[in-house]
Symmetry: C2
Subunit: 220 residues, 2 copies
Amino acid sequence: MASNKEEVRLFGMVQSPFASRVEITLKLKGVEYKYEEEKWGNFSDTLIKYNPVYKKVPVFVHNDKHLSESLVILEYIDETWKQNPILPSDPYKRALARLSSNFIDDKCFNGVSKAVFTLDEKEQEKSIEEIEVVLQFLENELKDKFFGGEKIGLVDISAVFIAYWIPIIQEVKGIKLFNFEKFPKLYNWSQDFNNHPIVKEKLPTRENLLAFYKVMFLQK
Amino acid sequence: MASNKEEVRLFGMVQSPFASRVEITLKLKGVEYKYEEEKWGNFSDTLIKYNPVYKKVPVFVHNDKHLSESLVILEYIDETWKQNPILPSDPYKRALARLSSNFIDDKCFNGVSKAVFTLDEKEQEKSIEEIEVVLQFLENELKDKFFGGEKIGLVDISAVFIAYWIPIIQEVKGIKLFNFEKFPKLYNWSQDFNNHPIVKEKLPTRENLLAFYKVMFLQK
């Protein structure tokens, strides 16, 4: 399916955990790609043409085909470049990995967005509770070094937002969501994950993210 | 993967388009299953045990394995019982089918929930516009009799909510979302889909759904 003469492009944004998922996956697979940095609030015409419904990064282009939505892109990459699979081969394990990734997007990502932007204290508390349900779920699920076993898999990559973004967001915002005391196994996992050579190479710097969220929270 | 001596159970609710997706898929595949009807607002302990995060139907049980979330269940069924595949084999076509199904859940289902329950006229208008974006997207995508070609596939099954539920909801609520004038190809598709012998057998009666939504909208 994948030939030598092919064009692979990723439209991302350094501060996007969703674009980061695609970069980590491509790097784990050893797929070469051209990266195009988009500007927050001023996306290129190409990005909007390729993702007219959501107008968001990441957009992934493979020859004449384009895709949006990081989890859909990740499965496409895994089915196209078979080396270093990020999904297990067993249908039930695949289903569980998809469920965990969906939980992370639905409850964790959306929950954090609500928790940090609401001015209503009760709503903030409710969002934090919802996030903790998923963090506890992941804490219980973690049986090996990574969710994918000894190697990084779909759930690890989906959870990059928890491993790297949440600690910085909670620091800027002054709320406590995720730490060693509450979720020791998950916290240790986050350290292993963030320090994995391929992940480390593809994460934005701490300074960059800190600055980005300071500006973002000031604007709201 | 699938043996003769196996237990397949589905916890559903007649009025749930998500449970209906699973029933249609099992029936298309010729997989025998035991159906357990759940009660709205009074779900069984088994259902809550198997779906503690969302506490919703459908829950699918295959021997000692259980799953929630209809789209995850559909992919599991397709990977476990290979006959009459609902997903194409080409990775890009698979990805597009997943994107369309996600759009339907995100923009159509959530959009309709917002449109029918909000008391704010502007918010209702905005939700209806969002729904129309996806209906137009699907209108443009439809190239054959079904989204799956000559046979019913993942997108058709995901869109059961559009084909059968939306016309009844808009009738009860007195709003116009989906009709032949606005979306002629999609409307014709909905007639073909609803009248497919397997789909027809598994849909709730019109009277049942009408009564359900009349009560639901009165309560709000």
